[in-house]
Structures are given as structure tokens and as C-alpha cells.
């Protein structure tokens, strides 16, 4: 009887429920907003008599508030409150927050599978009423939810508000989301270097010092050389962080059990787990301090970058040395069973990063410096897992900016000439 009316999805769901002994298609019981304490983490910004408060709900808070596991469906509710103290009306545009946001009724539709059918109408109304209104009259205050695509780690977004006076107010938020343990959160920044160890450099001395940095990462013992250190990043932790996140890079998790499970799942099913951990490479006798990745549509295709804080300062900014590579597929090795095969043309990946930061207006200045040592296409060197690579031997220098920099305002270190040709 039941099966007659249901399609495959329902059958699968039913089997899934029986296997897991969890409740399925229960009644709809969301909790009142006061009982879910996400507002304690809210951040507030003001501009020209408009005040915006924002908070990002964790997985557990989303379940409590909406009685549906939205994270499992890749949906993350962002709570916003907009107070308009101007004498003109203003409008909020959700597309500025996430161009692919979910509408409230769409979210309800996607989540309703967990709720019994007789409650679906109530559920629709609940989500609909909880959606943020886009129009804010003078002197008015509105609050509600925008249903966005899931980001773990730090969620970065803009809240764009345009007034009837056609004035555009842009508010930028970087809000940590509970649930991911990013690499850099484990670092004891204070004690990495003592004051005496850190050296301040002027431009010429910086160039010489960077040329003398090690060519490559190593294994833990320091006995074997790995991927080339083809990046130098200048900027304080916040600048680095804002710049990369704005350009669409994600933080990564340190390898621990839960994240390994998440990785294996996305590996098997080809899904897009954007925060999978990266393996450790070593510089200064320690694994990377910060790692980011930028995913495409499948876990097999992503760019990885790792940074190590160097005991150097330039114009009062921190200096980082790093490594970037592009995964182009998966292969089997004796050492690690499976590993991501990297693009042997590491310069191509390095130059991609320059463009990426340049177009996201996150670059203050850039250039190239020697130090990696050239390796020709016909005589490639190898990394720790045996992937060959070739390079012109230059590192890219990226002076990052947390304030948006116009494309044509980006500066240039006149050191080495930029790449001319890829293969001879």
C-alpha cells in the first residue's frame, strides 16, 4: 500500500531510517528563537545610520531552530537584524550575501522530507515568516534569516544595503562558525619566535634573505626534499586570512578522526568536501602554520597552499613562506597508498594564485624572487610522494591587503622578470 504511493526516494529513506533507528518524518517542532542562543555570537556594524547585526547558526542551532538538519543539505541559516535610522527607506539584497541563496519556501521544501506530511503546510508558513524582509522603512528594524550555501570555518559575506537615495552601504562580515578546527587555531603564535629571533628587513635585504630561504619543504626528519617553496606572503594574520577567504579559499582542518571520515566520504562519492585536511609538510622543523584550499566541483580537483611564518618582518608586516600546488587527479603510491597527483607545472599554479588575488582585489603588491632553483621540463625534480615538477625557479611574492585594492593600483617589486614562457 505504502510502497505503491511512494517513489524510490521514499523507499530509500525508509530503509535508511530503519537501519539507523532514527526518527523519520516526525512532527514539526521548531524551538522559539529565544531558546537558541546564537545571537550571543552576533557581530554588529554601523554605517550612515544603518546598523546590521549578523550571526551564523551552527549545525546544532539550525536543528534546534528549524527542526530540520539543514547542514546535511548544505544549507546554512544566517540571522540578520537591520535597523534603519535614516529618514529614507533602505533595501537589503540577499544576492550580495550569497548569489545562490535558498528562498525560505525552497529551504522548507528541501528539508520537509524529515517532517510528516500533515505538518508541511505549517512548516512552509514557519520558514516563510522567518525569512528576512528586504524592505526597511525609515526608523524601522527588521530581523530574520537568509538561507545560504554552507561554509564551515569562517564564513565571509557582504551585506549590501541600498537606500532610496541610491546610496550603497556595504558591510563585510567574517564570522567563525563553530564546528571546524582549522589549522591556524592550534598554533601558539606568541611563542613561535622570541623577540630576538625576528629580524626586520628593508627591500634589498628582504630580497637577499628570501633568495637564501630553503628551496623546498621537507619530510618530518628533514632528510628528504618535497614540494618547492614557491610563495612568499607579506601581511599580518588577519590580512592573509581575509585576502584568501575573499578570493574563495577555504580554511582546512587538521587531520583528526572526524575530518578523515568526512574526507573519505567525499573521496568515495566524489562530493565536494571543501575543508578536507591537508597532509603535513615541514619547514623550520614544523608542519604548516596555515593551510587553505580552493575546491572545484570534486575533491579530486583542488588547489592547496600551505604557509609557514618566517622569523622576518618587512615594513612592520609578517612574512610567510609557502607552497602551492594544484591537484589534478588521484594516483596510488607505495608511501601513502593514495595521494593527489599534482600538476608538474607548478609555476602555472603559482601564477594562477597571483591572478586570483589580483581579481579579488586582495593584492597590494607582487613580484618574483629567486630561491627555488630552476628545474627544466626535461629534467624535473620530485616531491615527497614522487610527483615530478618543473619550474623557472622563482617564488611569487604576494603582499596581501585586507582592504580591497583596485586592479590598477597594485604595485610591483622590480626584482625578477615575470615568467615568459612555460616550456622550451
Amino acid at each position: 500500500m505504502f510502497f505503491d504511493r511512494c517513489n524510490t526516494w521514499y523507499r530509500l529513506a525508509l530503509i535508511g531510517c530503519m537501519l539507523l533507528f532514527i526518527g523519520c518524518a516526525s512532527s514539526f517542532n521548531p524551538r522559539p528563537i529565544e531558546e537558541v542562543p546564537f545571537k550571543e555570537r552576533a557581530q554588529t556594524r554601523s554605517q550612515n545610520r544603518v546598523m546590521v547585526t549578523a550571526s551564523v547558526l551552527s549545525a546544532a542551532e539550525s536543528v534546534a531552530k528549524f527542526d530540520v538538519n539543514l547542514y546535511r543539505r548544505n544549507i546554512q541559516p544566517v540571522w540578520l537584524e537591520i535597523e534603519n535610522n535614516d529618514d529614507q527607506a533602505v533595501w537589503f539584497s540577499p544576492i550580495g550575501l550569497d548569489p545562490f541563496y535558498f528562498t525560505p519556501l525552497e529551504t522548507s521544501f528541501i528539508g520537509r522530507f524529515e517532517i510528516r506530511k500533515s505538518d508541511h503546510d505549517e512548516m512552509d508558513r514557519y520558514f516563510f515568516a522567518g525569512g528576512l524582509k528586504t524592505y526597511v522603512a525609515p526608523g524601522d528594524k527588521v530581523s530574520g534569516f537568509v538561507f545560504t550555501n554552507l561554509d564551515e570555518g569562517t564564513k565571509s559575506f557582504n551585506v549590501d544595503i541600498v537606500g532610496e537615495d541610491n546610496q550603497l552601504r556595504g558591510f563585510t562580515f567574517f564570522i567563525p562558525v563553530p564546528g571546524i578546527r582549522a589549522d591556524h587555531q592550534n598554533i601558539d603564535w606568541e611563542n613561535l619566535y622570541s623577540e630576538g629571533e625576528v629580524v626586520d628587513y628593508d627591500e634589498n635585504a628582504l630580497r637577499a634573505a628570501l633568495e637564501n630561504m630553503p628551496c623546498c619543504t621537507t619530510n618530518k626528519k628533514g632528510s628528504e626534499q618535497g614540494d618547492p617553496l614557491n610563495l612568499v606572503v607579506i601581511g599580518d594574520l588577519d590580512d592573509v586570512y581575509y585576502a584568501f577567504i575573499r578570493a574563495g579559499w577555504d580554511e582546512t582542518e587538521t587531520i583528526y578522526r572526524a575530518s578523515m571520515l568526512k574526507t573519505i566520504r567525499s573521496f568515495l562519492f566524489g562530493g565536494r568536501y571543501r575543508y578536507s585536511p591537508v597532509s603535513a609538510l615541514y619547514v623550520f622543523g614544523r608542519p604548516q602554520d596555515v593551510a587553505f584550499q580552493r575546491a572545484r566541483t570534486s575533491i579530486h580537483k583542488r588547489n592547496h597552499l600551505r604557509l609557514w611564518l618566517a622569523p622576518m618582518r618587512y615594513e612592520d608586516q609578517l612574512v610567510w613562506i609557502g607552497q602551492i600546488s594544484r591537484d589534478i587527479g588521484v594516483r596510488f603510491t607505495l608511501k601513502t597508498i593514495t595521494t593527489h597527483k599534482i600538476d608538474p607545472d607548478v609555476d602555472e599554479t603559482r601564477d594562477f594564485l597571483i591572478q586570483d588575488l589580483w581579481y579579488s582585489q586582495a593584492l597590494k603588491s607582487f613580484g618574483y624572487v629567486k630561491g627555488v632553483g630552476a628545474a627544466a621540463y626535461s629534467e624535473p625534480r620530485g616531491n615527497l610522494t614522487g610527483d615530478p615538477y618543473f619550474t623557472d625557479g622563482n617564488r611569487a611574492i604576494l603582499w596581501v591587503s585586507s582592504k580591497p585594492m583596485a586592479f590598477s593600483k597594485v604595485g610591483w617589486f622590480e626584482w625578477e622578470t615575470p615568467p615568459r614562457d612555460q616550456v622550451d
Binding site: 528586504t134 549590501d160 546610496q167 594562477f352 586570483d356
Partner: protein, 385 residues
């Protein structure tokens, strides 16, 4: 490569001391040039020839063509053969040699390929060049990709209305005329309403197409006349559903003149847009009537009743064009009766629509309009929700 004649379809643009010629390879041409089926992997080669007539070294930025472009060795890796290093070496070398490099020496011409994410219909992209002054020179291309003929390419727009049928309005007359239009698209014989109009767009067809492409909408094949080869092509490429024909809806007693999709990367939630050219002109510009909605996906066809908030979709569409800097001015008119969430309007199957009945009227502009220079018409104001 000389045997493949994609260069005959190339377009050329010149600016200052630079000339850029671009061509997009079809599925067959890609296979002929590279010996492997790139389309099946979602990869589309774009051929470029750039002449630097200046005295300055200049760099080409492939990121401008596609921020998710593929590097040459990334393209070849999946085609590598186990235990055949000679073949693997050859294919790597071939792709590297045919890649478009970044550096353009003074007084030279350079050509090669950029490996982009596959798009059918009309491919729109920029080619940015930057010299030592860091000032970008931008060349914009709209190039038809052979293989898929979009529905609007089969419509004879000039023959749709005779000169006598075309009515010209000033702004005030235009608003009144809009209020008298029929509210809803119907099925073929006009017996059932299958949607509610929520958009009116003012601008030439070319401008409108360019703005829609710029903000990420895809053209679609026509349901009635998609050929077998078009259907094969769509089903053969990754995420080919982006180009699936839309349902046939009827307004002005005919099927839509143009239809578009915009999908999320995950494939869920596909925005769908139907457009009809009207016999109206306002201050010389053509007027299009449209219906924008969201298809929540084909996965649960029979069991789920669902509601689509047409106002949200209308506002989404407006913001979409606004962020693509394609809106000159806009206003709202009350064009249909309201269907609030307490009384949703049932259309086919279990889908219902909710709307306040207001239509967004948008004057589009091919020239970029900054976000804060968009004009609002002093027309109706939709009720706050």
C-alpha cells in the same frame, strides 16, 4: 591544426596597440585538434591569437577568460595510460606546446589555447591584457558554440509583428498598457493558466541576451525542435541539464520566444525564465514580457506539493541583473491578482504559486551601470511582507 577550420569562425577585436582574435572549438573540432574527447570531461578549448603592436611587454591573464580554467597538464592527466610513458609524455608536451602562454613580447603575435569550463549556446568571456603600468585592457567576446541552437535563434523576430501591430508608448501610457496585459501564460490551447507573469523587460534583444549571459544564465535548446544531435550533446556533457529545454508555455498565443536557465553548481534549484517579445515599444525600445520561477528539481515529481514564491524570484532576478550592472531603471506595476501564502494558486500537478501580483519593469543596459546609479520609477510600491 590547419585542417580544422575553427579559425574561420573567429572574431577579432582591437584596442590601442593590441589585437585579440578568439574562437571557441566545437566538440568535434576539439577531438580533431587534441585527439581526445574534451567535451565529455566538461572542458572547452578557446583559441586565442594576440598581437602586441606596442613597445611594452604585456601579459595575458587567463583568469579573465575563466577563473576556474584548467591547466594544460590537468587536462591531460585523466587521459594518461598506465605503463605507456611515451604516449603520456607526448600528450603532455602537445598540450603544453599548444597552450596560450602569458607573456606577450613587444611587437610580436602569439597564439594558443586556454582550457575553459564547457558552455553551450553563446559563450561570453573577457580577455584581459595588462602591461607594466598595471592598467587592464579588456576585450569582451560573445561567440556562438556550434552544436546547440538556442530556441531564440530559431525565431524570426522581425516577422513576429507587422508594422501596423506595433504600438509605441510614452512612459505614462506604457504603465497603463502594462496593467491591461493578460496576467498569465497558459497551456497550448489556452484552457489552463500555468504561471503568473512577473517581469517586463525593456531593451533590444542583443542587449538583453548579453546581460543575461553576463549574469550567468544559460540559453536552452527548444523543446519543440531540438534535434537528436543536440539532445545527444546535452546528455553527453557534465551538467548538461543546464541546457535542457524548458516546458512550452503560451502567451500572445504562441510558445515562448526565448528561455533560459541558471543553476546552482550542485544542480538543485534551477532558476527558469521564459520571455516573449510584445508588440509594445516604449520610447523606441522593444518590450519583453517574462515569467521567472524556480524549478526545485525533478527528483520528487509525484509526492511533493510545493509552493514557489514568485515575488522572491522576481526580486532575485532584479538583483541578479543589478549586480551584473545591467539595470538602467526599474519600477513596479500591479499586473495580476494576489495569491498570498494562505491561498496559494494551484498550477499543474502539486505546484502552487504565491505572489502579490506586482511585476518588475526593468530597463536593461548593455553598458555597465554602477549599482548606485540605477534609477527607480515613481510607480506602484509592492506591499512589504
Amino acid at each position: 591544426m590547419k585542417e580544422v577550420n575553427f579559425q574561420t569562425r573567429a572574431q577579432t577585436k582591437s584596442q590601442d596597440n593590441y589585437r585579440v582574435t578568439a574562437a571557441v572549438l566545437s566538440a568535434e573540432e576539439s577531438e580533431t585538434v587534441f585527439g581526445v574527447s574534451l567535451y565529455k570531461r566538461g572542458i572547452q578549448p578557446v583559441w586565442l591569437e594576440i598581437e602586441n603592436k606596442s613597445d611594452e611587454p604585456t601579459w595575458f591573464l587567463p583568469f579573465s577568460v575563466d577563473p576556474d580554467y584548467f591547466s594544460p597538464l590537468e587536462v591531460t592527466y585523466p587521459f594518461h595510460r598506465t605503463l605507456d610513458s611515451r604516449f603520456n609524455g607526448q600528450i603532455d608536451q602537445y598540450f603544453l606546446n599548444h597552450a596560450m602562454g602569458l607573456f606577450l613580447a613587444p611587437k610580436t603575435t602569439r597564439s594558443g589555447f586556454v582550457f575553459t569550463n564547457l558552455e553551450l549556446g553563446t559563450k561570453s568571456f573577457n580577455v584581459d591584457l595588462v602591461g607594466e603600468d598595471n592598467q587592464p585592457k579588456v576585450f569582451t567576446f560573445f561567440i556562438s558554440v556550434p552544436g546547440l541552437i538556442a530556441d531564440h535563434q530559431k525565431v524570426d523576430f522581425d516577422g513576429l509583428y507587422s508594422t501596423a501591430e506595433i504600438i509605441s508608448y510614452d512612459e505614462t501610457g506604457f504603465k497603463n498598457a502594462l496593467e491591461n496585459l493578460a496576467c498569465c501564460p497558459t497551456n497550448e490551447d489556452g484552457t489552463e493558466q500555468v504561471g503568473v507573469i512577473n517581469l517586463v523587460l525593456v531593451g533590444s534583444g542583443d542587449d538583453l541576451l548579453r546581460i543575461l549571459l553576463r549574469s550567468g544564465w544559460n540559453e536552452t535548446a527548444s523543446e519543440k525542435s531540438a534535434s537528436a544531435s543536440e539532445q545527444d550533446l546535452i546528455s553527453d556533457i557534465p551538467a548538461g541539464y543546464r541546457y535542457d529545454p524548458l516546458n512550452a508555455l503560451y502567451y500572445f498565443e504562441r510558445i515562448q520566444d526565448a528561455s533560459f536557465r541558471k543553476t546552482r553548481a550542485t544542480g538543485t534549484g534551477r532558476n527558469v525564465l521564459w520571455l516573449w517579445l510584445s508588440p509594445m515599444r516604449v520610447e523606441g525600445e522593444p518590450v519583453w514580457v517574462g515569467f521567472v520561477s524556480r524549478d526545485l528539481g525533478p527528483q520528487w515529481p509525484s509526492i511533493k506539493a510545493h509552493k514557489v514564491d514568485l515575488d522572491e524570484m522576481r526580486d532575485f532576478f532584479m538583483q541578479d541583473l543589478w549586480y551584473a550592472q545591467g539595470v538602467k531603471k526599474y519600477g513596479f506595476v500591479k499586473g495580476a491578482t494576489a495569491s498570498p501564502i494562505s491561498q496559494p494558486k494551484k498550477i499543474f500537478g502539486n505546484i502552487s504559486h504565491i505572489t502579490n501580483g506586482y511585476w518588475a519593469v526593468i530597463w536593461v543596459s548593455e553598458k555597465s551601470i554602477p549599482l548606485n546609479e540605477v534609477k527607480a520609477m515613481d510607480w506602484d510600491i509592492p506591499p512589504a511582507r
